[in-house]
C-alpha cells in the first residue's frame, strides 16, 4: 500500500463491482489479461468522451488523429491506474476513480496539442486587455480603484516569477498544463505560485482599504 493510501486510514469494504475490478487486475494469467483489457476499454471510452467534448479546440484534426490522441490518453491512464491500484480505497466506485485518470490524460493532451504551435507570452506588458477596461452598467468608483490597485499590485507586490505566471494564466488564458510543460514544472507547483500571487494581490488591495465586494 502506498503512503497516500496509508495516510487515509484502514481498509474499507468495497462495493461488489469495485472488488471484482481489483480482484481481476490483481490476479494472474488469462483472468488478469481479461481485466486489463476491460480496463483499457473503459479508459478509452472515457478518453474519447473527453476529446469529443473538447474537439472544438482541435477542429483542424481529423477523426483518425483525434482517436489516436484518445488511444494515447487511454494507454497513459492505464499505466497510472495499474501503478496506483493500491491507492484505491473504495471512497468512490472503482470506475469513477479510473475515469478521472483517463479524463486527466485526455484533457491535458488536448490542451497541449491545441497550443503546440502557439507562442506562450510570459511578458507582463501584454496585459493590454486589462489596462483600459470600458465602463459598463455596474461600473463604479470602487471598481475603478480596485482595477488600479490590482495593476499596481501586479507591478509592485509580486515576484517576477509570480507576475509571469499570473499574467499568463489569468490574463493571457494560457492553460496551466501548457505553461507547466513550457516551464518544465507541474500543474500543482504552478497553481501554488498562482495561489501565492493571488494572496499577495488581495493583501495589496486590503492595504489600500479596498473591500472584496466589488
Amino acid at each position: 500500500m502506498t503512503a497516500a493510501a496509508t495516510r487515509r486510514g484502514g481498509p474499507r469494504k468495497l462495493d461488489a463491482a469495485s472488488q471484482e475490478w481489483l480482484d481481476g487486475l490483481r490476479g494472474a494469467g488469462p483472468a488478469r489479461e481479461k481485466a486489463a483489457g476491460r480496463l483499457h476499454a473503459l479508459l478509452l471510452g472515457a478518453a474519447r468522451f473527453e476529446i469529443a467534448r473538447r474537439r472544438q479546440a482541435l477542429s483542424y484534426l481529423g477523426s483518425g488523429e483525434l482517436d489516436e490522441l484518445a488511444r494515447d490518453a487511454a494507454d497513459d491512464a492505464a499505466v497510472s491506474v495499474l501503478r496506483r491500484l493500491d491507492d484505491f480505497r473504495g471512497e468512490s466506485r472503482f470506475t469513477t476513480w479510473a475515469y478521472k485518470f483517463a479524463l486527466l490524460e485526455a484533457s491535458v493532451k488536448v490542451r497541449r496539442r491545441a497550443w503546440r504551435d502557439r507562442e506562450v507570452t510570459l511578458e507582463p506588458e501584454t496585459w493590454s486587455q486589462f489596462e483600459h477596461p470600458a465602463p459598463g452598467p455596474d461600473w463604479n468608483a470602487e471598481r475603478a480603484a480596485v482595477l488600479a490597485a490590482i495593476q499596481e499590485g501586479i507591478r509592485t507586490a509580486l515576484t517576477p516569477h509570480q507576475r509571469r505566471v499570473l499574467v499568463a494564466l489569468a490574463l493571457n488564458g494560457v492553460p496551466i498544463d501548457v505553461l507547466a510543460e513550457r516551464l518544465g514544472t507541474t500543474r500543482g507547483a504552478l497553481y501554488k505560485t498562482l495561489h501565492d500571487a493571488r494572496r499577495k494581490l488581495r493583501a495589496h488591495l486590503q492595504e489600500h482599504g479596498l473591500t472584496e465586494d466589488w
Partner: protein
C-alpha cells in the same frame, strides 16, 4: 471589456475567497466528490476546499465537469 468579462477577469486574478486545496489534492478527491454530488450528498462539507479550488482552477474545473457528465451519461444513457 464588458462587466461580465471584467468579473471573470477579477476572479481569475484574485481567485476564490474561500480557503482552497491545490490541484494534486483536488485530483485525489475528485472521484469521491463527484460520486457524492451525484448521490445528493453534501460533497462540499465532506471535502472542504475542493469547491473553491474548482472556482479558481479552470483545468480542474473542466475535469470535474467532464467526470460529472460522463457519469451522468452512464446513468441515463
Amino acid at each position: 471589456m464588458s462587466d461580465p468579462d471584467l468579473d471573470l477577469t477579477l476572479l481569475r486574478l484574485l481567485g476564490p475567497t474561500e480557503p482552497e486545496i491545490g490541484c494534486d489534492e483536488c485530483f485525489e478527491q475528485l472521484d469521491r466528490y463527484v460520486d457524492a454530488e451525484l448521490a445528493g450528498a453534501a460533497a462540499h462539507a465532506l471535502m472542504p476546499g475542493l469547491r473553491a479550488h474548482l472556482a479558481g482552477c479552470p483545468a480542474c474545473a473542466e475535469e470535474h465537469e467532464s467526470l460529472r457528465a460522463l457519469l451522468e451519461l452512464g446513468a441515463h444513457g
